[in-house]
Amino acid sequence: IIADRFIKLQRKILGYGRLSQKEISDTLREIRILLLDADVNYKVVGEFLRSLEEKLKSEKIASSLKPGELVIVELYKEIVKLLGEKPTKLNLTNQFNILCLFGLQGTGKTTTAAKLAYYYKEKKPLLVACDPKRPAASLQLQKLAERVKVDFIPVKEDIFTTAKVALEFAKKNNNQLVLFDTAGRLHIDEELMKELKEFKEKIKPNYNLLVVDGMVGQDAVNQAKEFNEKIGIDGVIITKMDGDAKGGACLSIRAVSKAPIIFIGIGEKIDDLQEFHPDRIASRILG
């Protein structure tokens, strides 16, 4: 139904001659519905439309004979721009790199940690289980580590001891990449957010990565805002993009946290990790 709406919008806009104020409003209203249907956050859509309205009123479009075409192009370009324009690579040094994965419950952190280990296999990665709470969490990561064939540190009762043991092991064992998988936590859980903040301050990861479920709706901004303010997000990984969710959350998260989206998860297997391409996701959001 989203594709339908965009096609209708396209036909309508492409039929326009010079854009009147009414046509601009109608167009913005249609775009608003399209973006909301794609799970872009309410407030983010509002901001986006404001800046798009400026572009639609611009001289370039006003004086064009085919303003409709320019509107479509402008919309697509604005989304690509908001998403970061180009893919962003993790800047991993040849020395020692620490990545910490965090996020809400069930978003795909543990699976993603293993995928990252596989992706950066040549860095001799060390997977570290730092979820002492979820039943069999450490075992889950251990089995994944066996499949990827990388080193693994099981969780101890407290995550700070676990991290200390892991870093000592990594130095001795020449692991150039240490991946910390943490427990799922709510951004409104004061105690667990404090724990994560302390973890970050003690361990000093090169990259603090928020893992978000690609099917998330309006709540995406709450996650992004809280984790960014309380912890600080260096990068985002959006999972479960192999489904048919539009992925508007990508736009919301980037808009609120300004952090680059580095990867998307596209399945449950260890090689189901893909670079995030703003242009591809822009097309997906637009249906």
Partner: protein
């Protein structure tokens, strides 16, 4: 200055924001705002009543044959395994003899995860044997539950995106096995929905309803900031009862669904 002309109603923008921010979606929000415009009384109360009505779909517990079989399904990470643990505890403290089965033969440590829950609540669990597929585990589980005269069998399944045809087929195979050995459908097929899900939740409900005829919904993670309003278009379109809500990660964080409490929370 206020950005006008883009809302369904410039005067009801605050109410519109509440509905859209709760993941109720544009279609239903537009419809509700239109009806709101025509109503001359307290518009907020009017909306609350409308939403409560949509969500008030009666849930009647079924029983076909012993043991009562409850199948738990849903997309990856929605909270199925945890919810099976919570349901087992809930039925147990309500004087049922419960047994659980792990039919997730795919994901790493899925069986161990459920086994730990079974130990927590001192409940028997049927585990998959090496090389068994999910349908074989279900067959064993029902046989075992029948032999031991259990009241309720809860079956945990692997997470699956509704877009994966072969995984939906696997569920159908599980249900065929249940039908065969139980001589009836399972009493319940609960779809587990994550409260944070966006519009894709509707698609999930649609596919699971059309393909495997789910009987009810359990919404999890309502202890977060997500309102779970996706339940409203789902209830509106598919008339599925919402049976329980998951509001935390502990064994007793499962409560029966109340439309009034749920709608009240949306407007807070």
């Amino acid at each position: 200055e206020k950005f006008r002309g883009i809302f369904f109603s410039d005067n009801l923008e605050e109410l519109e924001e509440i509905l859209l921010s709760a993941d109720i979606g544009t279609q239903l929000t537009q419809k509700l705002i239109e009806e709101c415009k025509k109503f001359s009384g307290d518009k907020k109360e009017f909306l609350k009543e409308k939403l409560i009505n949509i969500l008030s779909i009666p849930y009647k517990e079924r029983f076909f044959s012993s043991p009562k079989v409850i199948l738990v399904v849903g997309v990856n990470g929605s909270g199925k395994t945890t919810t099976v643990g919570k349901l087992a505890y809930y039925y147990k403290i309500n004087h049922n003899d419960v047994i659980i089965a792990s039919a997730d033969t795919y994901r790493d440590a899925a069986t161990e995860q459920l086994k730990i829950w079974a130990e927590k609540i001192n409940t028997e669990i049927v585990l998959s044997q090496k090389g068994q597929d999910s349908a074989a585990v279900v067959f064993d589980a029902i046989q075992s539950a029948q032999k031991r005269k259990k009241d309720i069998l809860l079956i945990d399944t692997a997470g699956r995106l509704h877009t994966r045809k072969e995984l939906i087929e696997e569920l159908k195979k599980i249900i065929r096995v249940i039908n065969k050995i139980k001589k009836s459908k399972p009493e319940e097929i609960f779809l587990i929905i994550d409260a944070t899900v966006g519009q894709n939740g509707i698609e999930q409900a649609k596919v699971f309803k059309d393909e495997i005829d789910i009987t009810g919904i359990i919404i999890t993670k309502l202890d977060g900031t997500a309102k779970g309003g996706i339940l409203i278009p789902i209830a509106y379109e598919f008339k599925l009862p919402i049976c329980y809500i998951g509001c935390g990660e502990n064994i007793d964080d499962l409560i029966p669904f109340s439309p009034e409490d749920f709608v009240k929370a949306i407007f807070e």
